[in-house]
């Protein structure tokens, strides 16, 4: 058995005694093993990970078993037990660990009355049902907020979005204005100055940015503001409507566009090489991803299976006036057609919220025979992946941030030769940082949040002609946000 102690949790006054908790897990495990609970032959292939998940609300049980299988789904010798020390209940630890250990060699359980209520079959994370929930949230955010009684930004860990920080906005405006001035000095300033924000949130950031830009422009007497064409892009029409209200004072320079963050080029192809500034905040962390694991030199793709624990499923179904077995089709209907597809809108939103709250992901590791089997995101080829793996720890679990990569590679062609992309988000800036553990994914109010593999974006950027840099968000102490920005690669 190999014990991985990656990241126990933040220390400081009032912090739990992580060492004691970790010690208790190890002691209990060794006792259970000594008690012969597991066939001794599987012990060498067993790995125990003491984790610390970034988000209190997430998709994992405090004690989770992950089994490895081959491409045909047949069990392999490798199995992992992950213990989220923050949430593991000391009183129930022995039982939870015993159950996990028992599962290492157990047959795949058939659908049982006492077992979890499955919402899907095994699938790569990118195709999982959680992304359908995520999409529904952004399309019907107003419905959700009407019931939750709070704006989605209040659900962020800090209670507000770093996107709207006046200092950050002022920095962004100053940077942009400086670029415009440089271009003007060289006689290269285009007649129309295009800027784009993708994923507009409440529109507050755009409003602040435009206020600041207009003020700076007037202060310096540069007359850039009237030439500005500020585009707000989002795939959620209700969100765009809300954002448009927020920027009403700048209506003459603002346009809204329904666009998919995964492929802005599809909508904005007519602006190829024309946009001087593209900004995104908290978009990449909310796009579908995959996860890869390397153990003993072999690569595994993480597959998931969404479910509701049986007791939670029973409660959710009862509250909705449904039989438990009727829940999966009802949720499918909800995800396809929105709350109104279930008739009573209020009850449908209540069901949606309760199901999201109860949703869990079981995980398994599917062995890949070769790097060529990795589902590479757009813009990344096998050579780059091999380079990334070369700089990664030998034992590692990392994000294959497919959605972020897709968005990036379909955004940079919009940039003017002197233009730049700026992304405010939570990044793992280098593969070596995964040595600290794997912190995610998490649940926000109704959406998915996950760390973004910045090293992967750096590799993709280099190939596309951009150097990718990361700067810490310096406006809020303790913020985990970083700012990605591009410079044209020489």
């Amino acid at each position: 058995m190999i014990l991985h102690v990656n990241h126990l949790g933040p220390g400081g006054p009032g912090a739990p005694d992580w060492e004691a908790r970790a010690g208790e897990v190890v002691r209990t495990l060794l006792e259970l093993l000594a008690g012969g609970l597991v066939d001794a032959r599987v012990v060498p292939g067993l790995r125990v990970h003491l984790d610390w998940i970034q988000y209190r609300a997430n998709f994992r049980d405090p004690v989770t078993l992950r089994r490895a299988v081959d491409g045909a789904g047949q069990p392999l010798g490798l199995a992992e037990i992950a213990v989220d020390l923050r949430r593991a209940d000391p009183a129930g630890l022995r039982a939870a660990l015993a159950e996990a250990l028992g599962g290492v060699t157990a047959d795949e359980p058939a659908e049982a009355a006492a077992g979890p209520l499955w919402l899907e079959d095994w699938t790569p994370i990118r195709d999982g049902v959680i992304w359908r929930f995520n999409r529904l949230f952004w399309q019907r955010v107003a419905d959700w907020e009407a019931v939750s009684g709070r704006r989605f930004e209040e659900a962020l860990p800090s209670g507000r979005s770093d996107a709207n920080h006046p200092g950050a906005v002022a920095d962004s405006v100053a940077e942009f204005w400086t670029l415009l001035r440089d271009l003007e000095k060289k006689g290269q300033l285009p007649a129309e100055i295009f800027a784009l924000e993708i994923g507009v949130g409440s529109g507050q950031r755009a409003a602040l940015w435009l206020d600041r830009f207009r003020a700076l422009d007037e202060e310096r007497g540069t007359s850039y503001y009237p030439r500005l064409r500020f585009l707000l892009g989002d795939y959620s029409l209700p969100t765009l409507d809300r954002a448009m209200e927020a920027v009403a004072a700048h209506a003459e320079v603002v346009s809204v566009l329904a666009l998919d963050a995964l492929n802005p080029l599809r909508t904005l192809g007519f602006l190829r090489y024309k946009i001087l500034h593209v900004h995104l905040t908290n978009v990449y962390d909310n796009l579908p991803h995959d996860e890869l694991v390397r153990r003993d030199g072999r690569l595994y793709l993480v597959e998931v299976r969404a479910h509701l624990p049986r007791d939670r499923a029973a409660a959710v179904a009862a509250a909705a006036g449904l039989a438990v077995e009727a829940l999966p089709p009802a949720l499918d209907q909800l995800l396809r057609g929105g709350p109104e597809a279930l008739g009573d809108r209020a009850r449908a939103v209540a069901l949606w919220r309760a199901a999201w709250d109860a949703l869990r992901l079981e995980e398994r590791l599917v062995r890949l025979d070769d790097v060529a089997q990795v589902p590479l995101p757009p813009g990344l080829d096998r050579t780059h992946l091999e380079d990334l793996l070369a700089e990664a720890p030998d034992d590692v679990r990392f994000h294959l941030s497919r959605g972020a990569a897709e968005s990036f590679i379909h955004t940079v062609p919009l940039l003017h030769p002197r233009g730049y992309l700026q992304v405010q988000d939570i990044f793992v800036a280098g593969m070596h940082e995964y040595r600290q553990g794997f912190r995610g994914p998490g649940k926000l109010d109704g959406s998915v949040v996950n760390w973004v593999n910045g090293a992967l974006l750096r590799a993709i950027g280099a190939r596309a002609g951009y150097d990718v840099h990361f700067a810490p968000f310096r406006h809020r102490p303790g913020s985990r946000t970083s700012i990605l920005y591009t410079t044209p690669r020489d």
Partner: protein
């Protein structure tokens, strides 16, 4: 055989296969021998020549597939330029290079490349070299008092290579100067350097100026108006420009200034994977013919095809040739 009107040509580079890209990088990382890489280069060049011939291009090149990029192919061969071979990890990156003394003369090895090309085609064969201004902008100068002085001395050294190429049978030589568009203020000495470079070189000389194609994207934006009137002093037979991506507005500069050289008209966009139809190509040629006589017009892609997948590059060449044929037929050619 008489020369066709509206002769079609590639600008220089052809689609770089993914496997060759990996091999170049493996060589850089010492995972592949020079011998093996050279064999791969030979095979890729033969295939590139064949693609151009099958597409029906009149003036073909070796696809520039032996080159890491348009700069390093020369900095690593120019005697007197010191190159830090540890300074790049990806073949397409630029080496750090510096000149610390007057450049000695010496061969750049282009004659061998020309001979290989001519061995595998009977068509007119073009060889491209990077111009002095563009090289000066990439090599750190720690010797010459000015960039112009550096460029003129580079031209002196490279002129000998061009003359050697002509002696070896070169008929078509192109000078690539994309950095003109990035440094329009330096154009007057850039043109003087080109003239020094081609002095006494008895070949059809074309000068290619684009807005950059590094990583398949433009490096600058603007109008070709900056070229005029300084470019009129360039002692070349053709100026090869990009229009398909940028639109044809600047073709009118050839009407306005009536330069002493022909126009190489870019008719396919090398920064888009969408393959133009022959009809679109023909329409672009017709639009240019309204301003420039056919006798002073040649047809080519906007720039090199290196960043395009092979099927797209080949499709664009076929469309270029077919579109040109449509117009030739209308002209009775």
């Amino acid at each position: 055989m008489p020369e066709p009107i509206l002769a079609t040509a590639v600008v220089g580079s052809y689609s770089l296969p993914g496997w060759l890209e990996r091999a170049k990088n493996d060589y850089l990382l010492r995972r592949l021998s020079r011998h093996d890489l050279d064999e791969m280069h030979d095979a890729a060049v033969k295939a590139a020549i064949k693609d151009q011939e099958v597409a029906g291009v009149d003036v073909v090149s070796d696809g520039e597939l032996r080159r890491d990029n348009m700069i390093d192919h020369f900095t690593t061969r120019l005697p007197g330029v010191q190159v830090d071979l540890a300074s790049k990890k990806f073949f397409y990156d630029f080496y750090d290079s510096v000149v610390r003394g007057r450049l000695p003369t010496g061969s750049l090895g282009l004659v061998e490349e020309l001979r290989f090309l001519r061995r595998f085609t009977d068509r007119r064969a073009k060889i491209s070299i990077t111009g002095p201004l563009s090289l000066v902008k990439r090599i750190r100068n720690e010797h010459y008092p000015t960039e112009e002085a550096f460029a003129l001395d580079l031209a002196r050294v490279m002129n000998l290579e061009l003359r050697e190429l002509v002696r070896a049978g070169a008929t078509d030589i192109q000078i690539d100067e994309p950095y003109y568009s990035g440094f329009p203020e330096d154009l007057p000495w850039g043109v003087r350097a080109v003239n020094a470079l081609v002095d006494g070189v008895g070949a059809r000389l074309s000068l290619h100026v684009c807005y950059g194609n590094r990583y398949g994207k433009p490096a600058w934006e603007g109008s070709y108006r900056y070229l005029f009137p300084a470019i009129l002093d360039a002692r070349v037979h053709q100026l090869t420009l990009e229009f398909a991506r940028r639109g044809e507005d600047d073709v009118r500069l050839f009407k306005e200034f009536e330069p002493p050289f022909a126009l190489g008209l870019g008719v396919v966009d090398v920064k888009s994977h969408e393959v133009e139809t022959p009809a679109v190509v023909a329409e672009r040629i017709r639009a240019a013919l309204a301003l420039v006589p056919a006798a002073r017009l040649a047809v080519n892609p906007d720039c090199g095809l290196v960043h395009l997948p092979r099927d797209v590059a080949f499709g664009k060449l076929c469309a270029m040739v077919e579109g040109t044929r449509l117009v030739r037929a209308e002209l009775g050619g």
